[in-house]
């Protein structure tokens, strides 16, 4: 190596180190320790008591969410974009979690008039055979959504209607309390790693 080559090599190394440092700083900013995409509640909020119907037609109460972690998403089967995209993301997120730690996934219908238990059963099974769904009388759905501050509104669309709805994913702990919520855009890796981090923090 000539002195000039040596000088150049040293300069190149310095630039590389600078770049690496800057990249690391940027990365650190973007990925703080702890949840990456979830908003974690300061105090876990207990789910309200509810009486809904599962995809198998059987009654489901808050007790069904005890003893296991769950992801809860409000949606409906006549939803072309947001709901299938989110359920597909949740199916991929579940696969990223070790089998013995996998959470339950619940789709809560905000369109119970069109989403009967059998309709929901067929729908959620497409994404994952273990996915569950909740429907029920309109007033029970409304009360449940309201307790979680889940906005939803029926919007006329030609001779039919669509439903605007809160499209966040709630993380519910084994004591049936909401511990975090993730708002879109949803990403499977982020949802899975946030869940695992929060789960570990609870131990």
């Amino acid at each position: 190596m000539t002195p000039r080559q040596r000088q150049f090599a040293a300069a190149a190394a310095a630039v590389a180190a600078l770049l690496a440092g800057a990249t690391l700083a940027l990365l650190k900013q973007r990925t703080p320790a702890g949840p990456q995409s979830a908003t974690v509640y300061n105090e876990p909020r207990p789910l309200p008591a509810f009486r809904l119907i599962g995809q198998d037609g059987e009654p489901v109460s808050r007790e069904a969410l005890r003893g296991r972690w769950s992801w809860l998403f409000f949606g409906f089967t006549h939803c072309p974009d947001v709901c299938p995209t989110t359920l597909a993301v949740l199916a991929r997120a579940v696969e990223r979690v070790p089998e013995d730690a996998r959470p339950e996934v619940f789709l809560v219908s905000v369109d119970p008039e069109r989403d009967s238990a059998p309709v929901l059963a067929r729908y959620v099974a497409h994404f994952d055979p273990d996915f569950r769904a909740l429907t029920g009388p309109r007033d029970e759905i409304d009360a449940f959504a309201e307790a979680l501050y889940v906005a939803h509104a029926r919007i006329p669309q030609g001779d039919t209607y669509t439903v605007d709805h809160f499209s966040g994913v709630f993380l519910v702990d084994p004591e049936a309390r909401i511990v975090a919520v993730t708002t879109p855009p949803h990403d499977a890796a982020g949802i899975a790693s946030d869940y695992l981090a929060l789960r570990r923090a609870r131990r």
Binding site: T77, H78, C79, P80, D81, V82, C83, P84, T85, L87, A88, R122, Y123, H126, F127, A151, I155, Q157, T162, D164, H165, F166, S167, G168, V181, T183, P184, P185
Partner: protein, 135 residues
């Protein structure tokens, strides 16, 4: 139709990723990951305007669905709202993206007997249409 034109038409039909005579290139069509018999699906794709002037997308249709509309999902404070868009201008050289949680084709009233791969025609104000196909 002379032979060269026929060949061009054949090529345009065989290569869905290429710009047709309309100057609009339609990328492959992707459907939302809903069950195939879902009452509504969303379609995602990109349209590139290779032509010299702006083009106005005014509608879409498909043999596999009774009705196709162009919609946009807007998410405000986590609440997703879906609204119809009737006219979209694509500037020369610009790309129009249809993607999850954004602009999408809303595919309604699926025909149960429709054959496998879905094709959608996207039609412009001047009456020309381009076809996007599922891979």
């Amino acid at each position: 139709m002379n032979r060269r034109l026929a060949l061009a038409a054949l090529l345009a039909a065989a290569l869905p990723g290429c710009a047709g005579p309309s100057g609009i290139e339609a990328g492959p069509l992707q459907l939302s990951e809903a069950p195939p018999d879902a009452p509504m699906r969303a379609g995602y794709l990109t349209l590139i305007n290779h032509g010299p002037g702006p083009r106005t997308l005014v509608g879409a249709r498909s043999a596999a669905f009774g009705s196709v509309e162009i919609h946009r999902t807007e998410t405000v404070d986590g609440v997703a709202r879906m609204r119809e868009e009737r006219e979209i201008v694509i500037a020369p050289g610009a790309t129009l993206v249809f993607e999850p949680f954004g602009r999408h084709l809303m595919l309604m009233q699926p025909h149960p007997s429709a054959p496998g791969a879905v094709a959608v025609e996207l039609c412009f104000a001047d009456g020309q249409c381009v076809t996007a196909r599922e891979r």
